[in-house]
Symmetry: C5
Subunit: 352 residues, 5 copies
């Protein structure tokens, strides 16, 4: 997953529906992985298999990884009669998560997220998934095999995947991607706890400021991914589209719950970060107070003393005190008295 800049590259002057890839994963070569299965059988192929379109029964899943081959995307779109605006959204990878209902299909866009551990940048990959009557097509921006757990479950006949209809596969793909968000939130949470610990240990270190800022920015970006996703999953759960069977509805509710949970965690992280930033500001203020208090104590004590010493350092011819036998010790005594008075004052005001 390459770093995705928050930048919009648009095709000025072209009519809507033109198929041009605008994302940041240009170095991902396009590959296709096709699966066809029924309750009994399972066939897989590492290429596009248009002949399976003729199959009367079973479910076909076409998993496209890498979007640089727009001709291929167009071909698949025509074979499965996907709407050209949806295909454009697949390639124009600055979409927000959304669900779109077409006459013969559902189209879901969401993002696979990852937190790069070194740069601490949130990286995203757009994934578009189509659900038809007997097919699921997933378009991933990246060549990573994000969905291999799903394929494995289909292959091994594990769980409910093989026994259920097409929409369960659709759900399984979405669920797998959404699960990655928990990982991102875990890392975010861990980092926040580390930050908190450091703040308690040594509050006003300058570099904390930058880390708080980075965390806030990434959390904001995360929230901007989750917010539309929450809407989209909610609408999917409440959709009355005939492609979704009643028996699978609880799974969609579960998916919606997960996204709500993710959103809630991100909100909590945001509140936490906001508290941390406030705490840091207070810490800086306290630190300044400590510094200034020390300066003031030292200055307030010594400046008057120095003044007295200065007075008796003057060279006037007629300064009677200078000739007193104990003049020096009286002067020292006065200085000591001033010092003690000051210290008492500071102690009373709890400065010491």
């Amino acid at each position: 997953m390459g770093k995705k800049k928050h930048k919009k590259i648009r095709k000025k002057g072209l009519p809507p529906g033109s198929l041009i890839y605008t994302g940041h994963h240009e170095d991902s070569p396009a590959s296709v992985f096709s699966v066809w299965y029924t309750n009994e059988a399972y066939h897989a192929r590492e290429s596009y298999a248009p002949e399976w379109l003729q199959q009367q029964d079973g479910i076909q899943w076409v998993d496209v990884r890498g979007l640089t081959d727009t001709a291929l995307v167009e071909k698949i779109g025509q074979d499965f009669q996907l709407h050209h605006l949806a295909l454009e959204d697949v390639l124009n990878t600055q979409q927000r998560a959304k669900l779109e209902e077409y006459d013969n299909s559902l189209f879901f866009i969401l993002h696979n997220l990852r937190l790069d551990k070194e740069s601490f940048e949130l990286q995203s990959e757009q994934i578009g998934v189509f659900l038809g009557e007997n097919f699921v097509i997933s378009f991933q921006e990246d060549s990573d095999d994000t969905l291999h757990f799903v394929r494995k479950r289909a292959l091994e006949g594990q769980g409910r995947l093989r026994k259920r209809s097409c929409d369960y596969l659709f759900y399984a793909i979405l669920d797998t991607i959404v699960d990655h968000y928990f990982g991102v939130l875990d890392e975010l949470d861990t980092t926040i706890q580390e930050l908190e610990a450091e703040l308690h240990a040594d509050g006003a270190r300058a570099n904390l400021k930058d880390r708080i800022y980075d965390l806030k920015r990434n959390n904001n970006r995360l929230r901007h991914f989750i917010l539309p996703l929450r809407d989209a999953t909610n609408r999917l759960y409440r959709s009355d589209c005939l492609l979704i069977q009643e028996v699978n509805r609880p799974y969609l509710r579960d998916l919606t719950d997960h996204v709500s949970q993710i959103f809630d965690s991100a909100e909590f992280a945001r509140e936490q970060l906001s508290e941390i930033a406030g705490h840091y500001q207070a810490e800086i203020g306290n630190r300044l107070n400590d510094v200034m208090r020390l300066l003031t104590i030292i200055s307030t004590i010594f400046i008057p003393l120095s003044f007295i010493a200065g007075v008796y350092g003057m060279n006037f011819e007629h300064m009677p005190e200078l000739h007193w036998q104990n003049g020096y010790f009286i002067a020292l005594g006065i200085m000591l008295a001033i010092t003690l008075t000051m210290l008492t004052y500071f102690r009373r005001n709890k400065w010491l």
Copy 2:
């Protein structure tokens, strides 16, 4: 109740519905307490009693404490025909509070909260409660006997519990757990009042900052428990599920009211804490002003005086003033005049 970290442990790659306990109470051994009662009779047993399933009348309540024995959870789930997604939620203890309606049962998730008095950390325990036609099943993460007041009321035939239907027991369990929130809010409130008092007494103490931060974080966590709970109880009150009898509806309204009240108090605490934090910041600013004012007064008075003393401490051969008879006293007089001028200036500007 062990400390619950805000951490998500997920079972990557497993199909949904897999039963694995993911919470932080692994040291709580699973125990079961079964109760069967009618208006006249009451039977209790400290183990699971599957044979009571055969009973035609009466109400059975299975109270599972500790979720480490997943086989037991699965067995109970099968006996009472609970949905496997609900069972997964019972074990996957990072859920938000929610109400789920299934064909033959209602499922409610909420959390038992406690404020640890020493570490001042909010501790939580997830509790899942099922309501069926003639049974209630409660799954507690922890082995504490949280619900013993309910059992006592059932045993003693006190109040309405024995005379009413199954949903009243369901309500009684939820109500008992929600009542604990009031205790948490009381402690929070007491702590806030203490904080306020200290702030008035000695506003800018550095450690107050940390306590404000801790309180805010815990209050935030509390609000994230209450918010979904409010939705869930509201939906329970408005639910048209046949398992809930019309005569018990006012009790559910009462429950909803309590949660609203709790939410309101938590909101008030949040606003209060925000004011306290602002007050603390202002206090720090004031304190800095006081410190700097003292420094400035002392410096502004003595620095010019010291300069005069310094001038007459110079060793030039030809300094006429040094030879004046009253040079020294004139110098002292000038110094006094400067001091008085300064003091007048400061008094006029209300610095003194």
Copy 3:
């Protein structure tokens, strides 16, 4: 009206509906004032008059002041068939304002507010009012005669009170209590204006901070009383309960309007207080700037001068300048030149 702490005393382990008084007005002895009137007649008695229940026509109003006698509350509840959960709410005086519809009655909870002029604390008294087919029952926490204006109007046959049905009396009671809120807001507003004036006159006085804080806290508490009250009055206005006659609906709209107006004023006060707090912070910053500017000007001028004096106060044997005829005056001249340069610099930077 005693000071009501924001504290929840709950009856742990008791079944819901248990009648125990939990408020802070334990020193208010319970007294009852009963009124029975028709369009023509008016009877009043300073005790509970259960025999009036037999009356076929007319309206009975039972005004209970002080809730310490729970037996009395229970007796009245039984005589008028009030729901035991509502009675519990009457006694458990930490309720939010609310409207509850029962089969044969409406139940409204709201609070009488007063701003104590000395401690500047918001004091509250919970009042529960029941409306039945031919009765109104009001339960006041406090023994003050809050509703004497209403009784007076009933007695004197003034206005519409005697001519209208029971719900008009119900409305008159609520309206009288809500009117007190305007008084609280007036005092709040006056205090805010005083605060504003002081802020303009002498902005950074330390005690302003505490008063801003107190005002904000009280305003927040006030808002937490008004918010649910707004919901409750709104629901009362829109209620299709048969106990409310169509002809009295405009009065309920008027009541709703008043509460909206009160809420609006409280919101405005909140915004104002927030601005005042911001203004105060800016004032502190400015004040610090002024203080520091003075210190810096004095220091920047005199520290170099003192240094020059110090140099010529050194006791080196060979210091040629010391022996110059005009050495002293040249030194003074240099000092003057430095001073003038500095002053020019400060004036150019608008520091003076």
Copy 4:
């Protein structure tokens, strides 16, 4: 328009519907201006003309200016059968903007606003307008001829006013008043732009603070006038009241649009003022930094130098350096070296 304090004067203990004027325009003598017109005819009179009530056709407009004559208000109310609660709202001039539908009339309350150019205070005048089947009655708190443009259009038969029904006149009055808000916003906007310019020119001047505060307060008050007005116009536009003809509906939509635009501008002003306040705070912080940097540079350079001078000003008998031939010049050299080192350090840290 006199200055309206945000103060609520209520008539304690009086039944609702009592007609007492509570506003701040007591010095506005009540005057009435009556107009009666059909498509062909136009009659005007500077007094109340109750005989026109008998007219079968045409539209009568009664414009009351000044509300001190409550008997007159009551008389008009009886003649046109206006609800006494509405009349009370006319006189009780602390209402929020609102629309009320009665059986035979619509009642709209809104405020005429003006920004006093000298005191920069927002001044308001409450105006209540009734729409009946063949009459419009406007009650203005103030004796200003706010609506003379409307009368002029009616007189001259200009535009659509004379050709349309009663509700168009009603609309024309509301539109004329709402238009004044644009003027207030213009002045607010101009002042904000001036403030912005001053902030850029000389950011931290103390008096800016007060002006920002004044602007914010007035903008807040403005928003509290507009918010309920927006609701009220919206409800007027969507109202299915038969007094409003379908053909005039686009005009009401236009009115609603204007109020939305006004609200939007006030919101924008609020955001702007908030940014300006933040900018001002940052400016103060920067200024303090500049001041302190200068102080620190001067102190850091001269304090060590003065110390060296002080050392060689000591009067010990045995101080070898004092007797060196070049002791003085070596000391000066060391001082110069220290100075240069410091300057280099400050330049490297970009303090100079």
Copy 5:
């Protein structure tokens, strides 16, 4: 596109519907470009072609650029039977984006935005578009050929434009204008990233403050353009107006999506700018701390030392230490000891 000041020029006292241009593009001469096309034919003319109104088939598009010729606007309005309130909105160019449905036409107002690269000011041009049964009329405030891509596609018969009905042309115009928003957001985003980089490099530079302020203001203005646009496009998509064909609905959904995406980006920019401002404030606080720490270290070390030097610079006759053989060196030693103690203290407190 000239700079549009946020200023409202209203026509006081004129009846609604009066046609007067109130915008800031008075130097844009009015020009008209007419297009008439069917699936086969395409005719274009650089003037208004009223005779095409007689055409039975085909689509006419009148593109008016510059609104200074109000007579022309009125003529077109009459020819196409546009509502006079809509025409007024076309000329009164301080409208918010909106959709209005009239009996025979749809009317959409939106704004063409551009970010001036030098002054970094957001410039806007209001564009009003009418959709009728067989015509589209666009009124642009400015003489720029904003829509030439659309005309080019119509001319070349490219894409779907020529084959589809009138509403597709309407959509194509809106889409082209909305696309410009992406450009503005790109530049905004780039500038924010530059700002971020500078902040990390050299955080507390004073001029950053002004740039943050400018960005925030422009982002706020941008949001105030987008917010009503989002509502308007949403309503267009959901409108059941017969002028919009079902087959073109997905394009309107796509348009709505784009505006949502734009709004989301602007929101993200707002959050980012708010974080940056907070970061900048923290940086200023840190910087002040650094400055004060240096001052305090220097002062705390040297002030006591200078005091000691001052003491032994006094001229008392009887000061025994002065006569000690090693008095000078002992004094120096004490000074060194004090210095080391201080340095150790500072190091322990991590000040060095």
